[in-house]
């Protein structure tokens, strides 16, 4: 679920067309803010006292296949039903429990009759990449053989105002890796990914859409809101993810970058990629110019897009990218690129200095 469609295929097609879902915000007043745009899902509007997160999740699950009831649930969200905190603070009717992550996780557990428990990973923009990593860890350690990872975050005044107050928001649709970039735009979205051990997937006759082969999380230990410009923390995460995967650096053929469109983030990422991959002209793309920064959902949506990219052999264009920033020449494109590859790297970085890197490999159709 994103501003560019309610399923992966629609999102993929519209990404390839270079479309952007970043539009003027109508959900709340934006007159006081330097930016007035975000990537909202059309017709997702509040009704009654229930958070719209549930409507988003219900739409997401329409296209979701069967989920084994013994799956462990890991959700990833930074703010859950934050729209109801807003309503409550304004004295409007609201079920304030929607602000509790466990409340939303329980809703999903009930929806799929899951019996193995749930947790939420809440670590800024890296939340869902970390959730995927923990799911893979549970499977690798033999503690679970089926894990549902479900990530979601909303465009709400709370978050919008915060990023505006930090002067991180762009007044125009964001331009990742462009020399004229002016900041980020937030977006809303959700994704669900079912992880299974190869044995379980085979036993159930399921097609594998891809494999999560490497992962790592690091901290810059540098600044709470700004990344370490020498890319040390992200470099560390990528190197450790490669080490875990057991694949050589040159087996990675493309990168789905965090690419928020802020001056500091994009520059830091290019530095880290250069440190790890040298001067290789590795295709790098960002979807933030198309669907905005979906915060806690970003890594999950991007992982799903990486799987699509591995399947089709196409690197999607980076919407909003026009003039390459220093270091982005020959790496980032605003056109789709044919690139058959076996492994892709996906990275996310966020507040608190956190960096996450995951490596995804091609799937096997059963």
């Amino acid at each position: 679920m994103t501003a560019l469609g309610n399923n992966l295929d629609t999102l993929w097609d519209r990404l390839l067309l270079g479309e952007s879902g970043i539009k003027p915000v109508r959900r709340f007043p934006v007159i006081a803010y330097n930016s007035k745009i975000a990537a909202c899902i059309e017709d997702l509007e509040p009704t009654g006292k229930i958070s719209i997160i549930y409507e988003m999740l219900d739409r997401l699950f329409i296209t979701m296949g069967p989920v084994p009831s013994d799956s462990f649930l890991i959700t990833a969200s930074t703010k859950a039903g934050i729209d109801n905190l807003e309503r409550s603070a304004r004295g409007l009717p609201a079920d304030i429990r929607d602000c509790l992550f466990s409340h939303v996780s329980d809703h999903i557990s009930i929806r799929f009759s899951l019996t193995s428990g749930n947790i939420n990973i809440n670590t800024t923009c890296a939340s869902s990449a970390i959730a995927l990593s923990r799911g893979a860890s549970l499977i690798e350690l033999g503690r679970a053989d089926s894990v549902l990872v479900c990530c979601f975050d909303l465009v709400a005044e709370y978050v919008f105002s915060g990023f505006c107050a930090l002067q991180a928001m762009s007044p125009v649709p964001c331009m990742p890796f462009d020399r004229n970039r002016k900041g980020m735009n937030i977006g809303e979205g959700a994704a669900a990914l079912l992880l299974m051990s190869p044995e379980r997937a085979k036993r159930e006759g399921r097609s594998s859409l891809g494999a999560l082969v490497g992962w790592s999380v690091s901290n810059d230990a540098f600044n709470i809101t700004a990344p370490d410009m020498d890319g040390h923390g992200l470099t560390l995460a990528i190197r450790k993810a490669l080490q875990r995967s057991g694949i050589p650096e040159d087996a990675v053929s493309a990168i789905c970058a965090h690419g928020t469109g802020t001056v500091y983030n994009d520059s830091m990422e290019l530095t880290a990629f250069r440190k790890v991959f040298g001067n290789r002209k590795l295709p790098v793309f960002s979807v933030k110019g198309a669907i905005g920064h979906t915060m806690g959902a970003a890594g999950g949506i991007e992982a799903a897009l990486c799987l699509k990219s591995l399947e089709t052999g196409i690197i999607p264009p980076t919407a909003g990218f026009m003039e390459p920033d220093t270091g982005a020449e020959g790496l980032v494109s605003n056109e789709p690129v044919i690139n058959e590859c076996d492994y892709m790297l996906s990275t996310n970085s966020g507040f608190g200095g956190v960096n996450a890197a995951i490596i995804l490999g091609k799937g096997i159709r059963s």
């Binding site: 947790i119 670590t123 800024t124 970390i130 860890s137 503690r143 107050a165 230990a221």
Partner: protein, 240 residues
Amino acid sequence: MNAFITGTGWVTAGGEGTGRNAAPFALSEGPLPGLAEKITFANQNFKRFGRMDRYCKLGLKAIAYALQDAGLDAWKEKRDIGVIVSTVLGCLATDFDYYNTVIPRDGLIADPNLFTYALSNSFIGYAAIIFGLTGTNFAINEKTGSGTSALVSAMDCISLGECDTILAGICDVECPPNFPMSEKPAPGSIFIVIEKTIERQIRPYGRLSVDKNGKLFFNESEIKDISMCVKQCLSIERKN
């Protein structure tokens, strides 16, 4: 998988401090101590401490105590040490405080400082900066304040070679008044330091292990939550 517990620190209604200082410990209802004052560890003054929200102060202070207890508070080079926290409410109280700065003038006077604390992992970021911690780090929201999610995840990280040293703990400030929750977590923060191997002069409290089903054991006795783990650490410390 076995690992050593080498440090523990806490800030609870029952007291604050470290295991080796035999500080009073009780994760119980009541006002939390010491969140207004400045603190210094390993000769480092936490300059921003006074500006932090209570959730951030609480978690940061407990981490500082735990690292001090393990003899890991002083550093010269950044270290591959991880931090995982379990929290029920996260920064919910700060969320309300921040949004109350948004309402008056439709966001014109929204407080950017408060917004930076409006994440469950903010204090981990500060701990990373202050103590040079570059390892695996994340926040987990769990239903109860047991801390088992953080402990098990920390053991998993060690098992998979993601970290050799990691802090795991809990952090929750008081639940906002009238918040409809049947089981409110006791306010407080507790952290323990878990190490795969020990290459310096320090006596560990004991061994932590986790079985395939995610059950936790301290010196082979099952533990149901982090509070129980700390109590057993303190019991061993008293015997020594």
